[in-house]
């Protein structure tokens, strides 16, 4: 075992050697420097291994004396982990900066070496004055590295940094010297034992020590000097400052907190949260990648600071939470800075160039998702535990602040990711990718996945998570270069295999999950079949599509809240990438993501509050919650309603579904929305145990009714066929919400019937219209017409789809309507019921428009040669039609088991079944009978019409001579643009986009507040020093004294 003291000997020795040996050339010096950093890394890593294998630690007493007579260094678990982290990023960062360092020569390498060594000692030392010395060493080295690439900006930033950190260091020194005066020791453990807080003057001394370390962590708003450094330094150096220096300084803070204890926890938590929220808020106004990353770094350090302030509530999970978030920040932030250094764009939009290199885009996406705290990354588990513990300690205000800061972070990170994936940036800047620059980025990205996998087991309930499907997604990513036919077949086979392994047992034990698993998996397999219609490789489609299905499957499998939330977030990530694939989907992808994150945080808060005071993490505890019942159910409802796009939270849906690719729309509409329904069912099962939750159900009922009305009205005035269907989905989900909120046996039977029906007919309609769009090349219905002759199969499919959707006999939609009226009358919600009924009649308007404008009337000139929709679409469409037919003819096959299932929650008020005859308290209905009679009537009428019209004269399409016109060129008389102008005059005011305007104004508010506060960063270095001094004074007088 090599003693940790040799980190110093190697660092200093090589620094001198570099000067002596410069004659051997810059390559030699560079390799020597890297070897030096590697050797430091080896020493720290060796102690890391030693700790985890034998628990051994090392304590070094310089000069052979024990403290307080000497400086002592410690190499324990924490030190070994953090020093290894610093040395790893030091080594990779050195490789990354190879060319720059070589250009500057051995002076720069020397500074680099001392920089890394200094951080090692900051981590290891247990002596306060020694800490000061090496903080200064690192600070001077940093100031040197900032001008590694000299330009106007970096020189200014470096000076501001110097002046601010020198004042901070002066305060620190003063604190140390007075601490020594009162405690007669400089040893950190000795200072901790001296109980300085109890001594008059001692508390001021220790305050100075603590506040200067806090200032070194760059608290908002006294951090302008740090932002400029992140902005102006070459990104390779910013990566080190963000990943290595921040890691070392964070541990220094942790050590110093050992002296203070928990006395100032509240203040630290407040400063940390202010920094987290403030920095991320201001981040939303940034457009320079480096500066944005600076804001994000500072925000993350604020969160980490707050975590130490939360210490009294985090118990033994403190280390886990702090470490997972620190590790994620370390890996992701270094990776992002390094990427920024490769692309060299002054603007976030320049990251669009990543599109040329899909692998790098993948790395970028990995870092963004990791920073936000998505699974499977370590920060996901850290944030989960953090929220659970804060809620458990009833620190709800802090919990919401953490979530708010994370949300702001999501705004700018996902806007940035959206730019890189989709923005129209005609001149994509060229960039060169050197192996020495991309390998460190790749290693850190892989590190995030590996770390996420291993941290999952340490979170409570994390061992339940099934990672195998995620490995399959990773496999799909690796074979992304193969043609569609192979990837599609593998994907369908995987879903089929998974279905066969999961559906039969679910059918036996858990009908509820069986239904939703059926929708997710069978729907998934069927919609994937349409993928065969595409040509080429369709890069990136299969990993993200399967990612969404994996998430959906995890929601089904989940028995505990962590697992459920894990699946929920995986599903969100997959669907985001699916949605943003559409041609014009960049803004819709962003709004989908922001609503999803907001909803997910509502869920997280709700789960946290539900878990508070309960021993179990099982989803069943939702039924046993005893305090904050309205808050818990309200938050969970909001979370799920963002996914079902209920009124107020719906504005993301029309664009997201309307602009998605042809086979993606049915996936995200017919299938994905049901995840929200599944969540609502879970929630309402729990609400059923709480009589006081009836109020929430009542509100949700109204919300459902109004959503149905607004969705249908919205659909009526659409000219875009896919947006029409998207609005229709909003309305249909409104029906389902309404029916669930009734909270009776029949209400739920209605809701499940609607869910299954909506899955089938919306998949049929979206698949068909999507396939038509692929053929005719437009979404606008007024640009279509008369396609019945060219696409009879598509016409029949849409006809069946709209009959089922409109709820007229004989198809299964009627079953839903019949049940619905029974449920409403039974419950007595007449007014709401009337609104839903009214919106049902509006549905006829847009359904007619859909089939009339697209398929009837006159064929457009440019569609004369258009072909029938692709057979790969016809197959899943007609399988679903068969499904609808079976459900329509034999509804009892589905409704009877559903009824039995619902009996376990609502034993009374179900249907009585006698073969195919269902009897409720209000009447009876026979699905098969209706089907037979309607078919007979239809056949009779059809033959009558055929007989009567056999003498009718056939006319050509443009034979409008009977109108006394003699056209010289073909003219269509087909009217479909603004077909409901009259209704629009009467009811158009109801579809004024007030809700979209509300969210727009929220967006403006956030950005203008951010724009206002960013003015405090005037750019004047002197002002930044004043911020620092003021910060100290304000914290002292308002918080401590």
């Amino acid at each position: 075992m090599v003693s940790p003291i040799h980190i110093i000997t190697i660092g200093l020795g090589l620094a001198f050697a570099l000067g002596l040996l410069q004659g051997f050339g810059k390559n030699f010096s560079g390799i020597l420097m890297l070897l030096g950093v590697a050797a430091m890394g080896f020493i720290s890593f060796q102690w890391l291994v030693a700790f985890f294998t034998s628990g051994s630690t090392s304590e070094i007493f310089t000069a052979g004396f024990k403290p307080p007579y000497s400086i002592n260094l410690m190499m324990g678990k924490h030190e070994a982990v953090l020093a290894s982290m610093v040395n790893l990023v030091g080594l990779l960062g050195g490789i990354y900066l190879w060319d720059t360092l070589k250009k500057q020569g051995f002076h720069a390498m020397l500074v680099y070496l001392v920089f890394i060594m200094g951080m090692n000692i900051m981590i290891m030392t247990r002596d306060a004055f020694n800490l000061f010395v090496f903080m200064e060493v690192v600070s001077i080295a940093t100031a040197g590295l900032v001008i590694l690439e000299q330009n106007n900006k970096s020189v200014q930033a470096g000076f501001k940094y110097m002046i601010a950190t020198s004042v901070i260091a002066g305060l620190f020194l003063m604190g140390i010297i007075f601490s020594y005066y009162f405690a007669a020791t400089l040893n950190i453990d000795g200072l901790a034992n001296a109980n300085l807080l109890a001594i008059k003057g001692g508390s001021l001394a220790i305050f100075l020590v603590l506040i200067s370390i806090i200032l070194e962590l760059k608290p908002f708003p006294a951090n302008g000097w740090a932002l400029d450094v992140y902005h102006a330094a070459t990104p390779g150096v910013s990566a080190l400052i963000s990943a290595a220096s921040a890691t070392a300084m964070y541990f220094v803070f942790y050590k110093v907190l050992g002296i203070v204890g928990d006395s100032w926890s509240q203040v630290i938590a407040a400063i940390g949260l202010l920094t987290f929220v403030g920095s991320n808020l201001l981040g939303t106004k940034q457009d320079n990648p480096n500066r944005l990353l600076g804001y994000s770094s500072i925000g993350q350090m604020g969160l980490l600071m707050a975590i130490l302030g939360f210490r009294p509530f985090l118990g033994e999970k403190l280390e886990f939470i702090a470490f997972t978030i620190l590790l994620t920040h370390y890996l992701a932030k270094a990776g992002l800075f390094w990427l920024a250094g490769i692309i060299k764009s002054e603007n976030l939009k320049g990251f669009a160039a990543l599109r040329k290199k899909p692998f790098m885009l993948f790395l970028f996406g990995t870092f963004v998702f990791a920073l936000i705290g998505f699974p499977p990354f370590p920060s996901f588990f850290g944030k989960w535990e953090l929220v659970m513990h804060l809620a458990n300690g009833h620190m709800y205000g802090w919990m919401f602040a953490v979530l708010l800061g994370s949300f702001f972070e999501g705004i700018y990170l996902f806007r940035w990711l959206g730019y890189s994936i989709k923005i129209d940036h005609l001149a994509l800047p060229d960039f060169k990718v050197d192996w020495n620059k991309i390998i460190p980025v790749g290693i850190f990205a892989i590190g995030l996945y590996v770390a996420g996998y291993f941290t999952s087991g340490f979170a409570e309930g994390g061992t339940a998570i099934n990672f195998i499907p995620l490995f399959f997604v990773a496999f799909l990513l690796m074979i992304d270069f193969l043609p569609i036919i192979i990837k599609n077949t593998i994907s369908i086979a995987a879903i089929a295999w998974y279905s066969f392994s999961i559906l039969p047992p679910l059918y036996e034990h858990d009908m509820l999950r069986f239904i939703f698993a059926g929708i997710f998996l069978i729907g998934g397999g069927l919609t994937l079949i349409a993928g065969y219609a595409y040509k080429g490789k369709r890069p990136g489609f299969y990993p993200v599509a399967l990612l969404m299905y994996v998430g959906l499957a995890q929601i089904i499998e989940a028995q505990n809240m962590l697992h459920f939330f894990f699946g929920w977030e995986i599903m969100t990530a997959g669907s985001y990438f699916l949605i943003i694939r559409g041609k014009r989907s960049m803004p819709h992808g962003l709004s989908y993501m922001l609503f999803s994150i907001g909803g997910a945080y509502a869920l997280l808060a709700g789960f946290g509050m539900a878990h508070a005071g309960q021993a179990s993490l099982s989803l069943d505890v939702l039924a046993n919650v005893s305090q904050n019942v309205s808050w818990i159910f309200g938050l969970l409802a909001v979370g799920f309603l963002t996914k079902t796009a209920s009124l107020g939270l719906h504005i993301w849906l029309p664009g997201a579904h309307g602009e998605a690719e042809s086979d993606v729309s049915p996936m995200v509409s017919a299938i994905l929305l049901k995840a929200g329904v599944f969540g609502l069912v879970i929630l309402m099962i729990a609400m059923g145990h709480h009589p006081e939750a009836a109020n929430i159900a009542y509100i949700l009922g109204w919300l459902g009714a109004l959503t149905a009305l607004a969705g249908n009205l919205g659909a009526t005035f659409q000219e875009d066929a896919k947006r029409l269907l998207a609005y229709s989905s909003i309305a249909q989900l409104g029906y389902i919400l309404f029916a669930l909120s009734i909270m009776t046996h029949l209400g739920w039977l209605t809701a499940f019937t609607y869910s299954i029906n909506h899955f089938m007919y919306k998949a049929i309609l979206f698949l068909t219209i999507g396939a038509v769009v692929l053929r005719v090349g437009t979404h606008n219905m007024y640009e279509m017409g008369g396609l019945i002759k060219r696409m009879p199969f598509a016409f029949i499919a849409v006809l069946i789809g709209i009959i089922a959707l409109s709820g007229v006999p004989p198809l299964s939609g009627f079953a839903g309507k019949w049940l619905f009226y029974n449920a409403v009358i039974d419950k007595g919600w007449y007014f709401q019921g009337a609104i839903v009924f009214f919106s049902g009649t509006i549905a006829f308007l847009y359904l007619f428009k859909l089939i009339y404008s697209v398929f009837l009337g006159q064929l457009k000139d440019n569609h004369r040669q258009v072909k029938e929709i692709s057979v790969w679409f016809i197959i899943p469409i007609y399988v679903l039609i068969i499904g609808i037919m079976i459900f329509s003819a034999k509804p009892q096959w589905v409704l009877q088991p559903l009824g039995e299932m619902i009996t376990s929650w609502y034993p009374n008020g179900g249907l009585q079944w006698d073969g195919g005859l269902a009897t409720s308290a209000l009447g009876y209905w026979n699905g098969s009978g209706i089907m037979i009679s309607i078919v007979i009537m239809f056949a009779l009428l059809l033959s009558w019409l055929l007989v009567m019209s056999r003498k009718a004269q056939k006319v050509e399409q443009f034979n409008i001579v009977y109108s006394a016109e003699r056209p010289f060129r073909p003219e269509t008389t087909h009217v479909s643009y603004n077909i409901y102008a009259g209704y629009n005059k009467a009811l158009g005011f109801l579809v004024t986009p007030v809700i979209a305007a509300f969210w727009d104004s929220m967006d403006n508010l956030v950005h203008s507040v951010a724009g206002f506060f960013r003015k405090i960063y005037s750019g004047n270095g002197q002002v930044y020093v004043a911020h620092v001094v003021l910060f100290v004074v304000v914290v002292y007088f308002f918080a401590i004294a």
Binding site: A143, M162, I177, H231, R1014
Partner: protein, 118 residues
Amino acid sequence: MEYISIIVGLLLIIFGLWGVLTQKNILKIIIGFSLFDTGLHVVMVSISYVKGRTAPILDDTVSIADAAKKIVDPIPQALVLTAIVIGLGVTALMLAYAMKMYKQKGTLDISGYKELNG
């Protein structure tokens, strides 16, 4: 009387900080920092002083045996040496920066260097 040096030190710190915060000229700011730093050093030495004792040097007048009773606390005096060295390094680096900034724009007014902001 023994408090004079510590008061002087604290005054120097305050004057120095005042200079850093109010002077527009970068060189004056650096001088302000130097005053601030020097004040710190004076305070460090002052707090080790114990009334009626002598310098911590072992010679004919102070033997090892009664050193603990006769000399002032030697540790801050040792520390201050390190602090002075660090202060020197920091000041030198600041001056180097000042030079570079002057070369860039030909002015030493700190408010002229605000390209990075917001």
